[in-house]
Subunit: 235 residues, 2 copies
């Protein structure tokens, strides 16, 4: 598929490499790899030509780096807190925002005529693919440093994220209020698992079970349900 914008961006090699350098902050070892990381499947069908494989890899590397960062930053916090903080840091909306701020929108190659593309996810996915490319290019240790310097430090404010706790529920209540919907959180199940009481809580909108969350206390379970509901509704 030859799109004119694609030809335009890739015709001047210097210009693409300069733009890429400006975004990642170093000169890549393998330009082709980075081009792949920036190519959405809507312009490249082949699974070894578009960025989905690199996205799979980058997503996993980012998760590990963030887990390491949180494990060391919060030495006395439990696994539940760490999991929650990670999901605040690497959820789709946050990654997409960061990707746009980094300028990835300008160099991501996708079919702009295709209205079915989720513009709220495409750049976040590209950012994950870019992380995958950096990992292949530089290895884990340097990628970790690069993620800290380029993504976490400038874009993720841990004090704010710690406070974000109740926002999913608030957001969902705000939406329900505005749209005249009845929102309830209903405990569906309560059982012992690994020596602890495990709760399943559903976010119920106008009688419909929209999403469910499981956690070892009702507050966390309803937060998770609210977060999933917020994602489902695209709020």
């Amino acid at each position: 598929m030859a799109h004119s914008f694609l030809r335009k961006i890739f015709s001047s090699k210097d210009s693409f490499e300069k733009q890429l350098h400006n975004i990642i902050g170093f000169t890549p070892g393998n330009t082709e790899l980075y081009k792949t990381s920036l190519s959405h499947r809507s312009v490249k069908e082949g699974s070894n030509e578009n960025n989905e494989r690199l996205e799979f890899l980058g997503d996993a590397v980012l998760s590990a780096v963030v887990a390491d960062f949180l494990f060391k930053k919060y030495p006395y916090k439990g696994e539940g807190f760490l999991t929650e903080m990670r999901s605040k840091m690497v959820n789709r909306a946050t990654l997409n925002d960061i990707a746009v701020k980094m300028g990835l929108k300008k160099i991501t190659l996708y079919n702009k005529q295709d209205n079915s593309l989720k513009i709220s996810q495409i750049f976040g996915n590209t950012l994950e693919a870019l992380i995958g490319a950096v990992y292949i290019d530089l290895g884990y240790k340097k990628t970790k440093k690069w993620i800290m310097k380029t993504i976490i430090m400038p874009h993720m404010f841990m004090d704010d994220l710690e406070q974000l706790e109740i926002n999913h529920k608030n957001k969902l209540y705000g939406w329900a209020n505005k749209n005249g919907k009845a929102l309830e959180f209903e405990t569906l199940d309560e059982r012992f698992e690994n020596g602890r009481r495990l709760f399943t809580v559903a976010a119920v909108v106008d009688g419909e079970n929209l999403a469910e969350g499981k956690a070892f206390n009702k507050k966390d379970a309803s937060q998770i349900a609210a977060q999933l509901a917020v994602e489902k509704l695209g709020l």
Copy 2:
């Protein structure tokens, strides 16, 4: 909490270190860290004393290592295949089996009197925590080599896992048959997403929607639904 078996194992320092060495294949830099990785919350309440934080970390590191391994082993396979293979490799049942084979059952510290503990998960979780400890001790690069040598190469047979494709559905049908249940796979939704048709398929048992899977074709979606149903039923 002082349990007699706990005292017994930890009373002879040599014996614990010898057992640990036999399992991991090297002499650890920090024995305390490894003790933490082997301590279930049923014997250690404190979140910095039991293995849940290390499990969080090790799970992420294992995911990244497996993603890297699959990315390189299958250079022409798409993201869907890689994701599926990873879930076959690192699902709870597989990890628990491997952990038992590695001998982790003998040195994991947990409250054997507590009947609510899920014995089918506890050692797999310990293995993840052990991976977290190895990562803190040796760093990513050496942990990757260690995971390849100790976990993937001796215990994961890629040719077999590739063939495993239809087993979740077969397993669920087998269970349904044996227990006189009616099992159906129902397509709940079909929509365009990112230029592709996305299917939501439910595994329905005796009219009850047990689990749902989403994928870009019905076969994969029903496989995912079957896999989730199998996990839910504890088969």
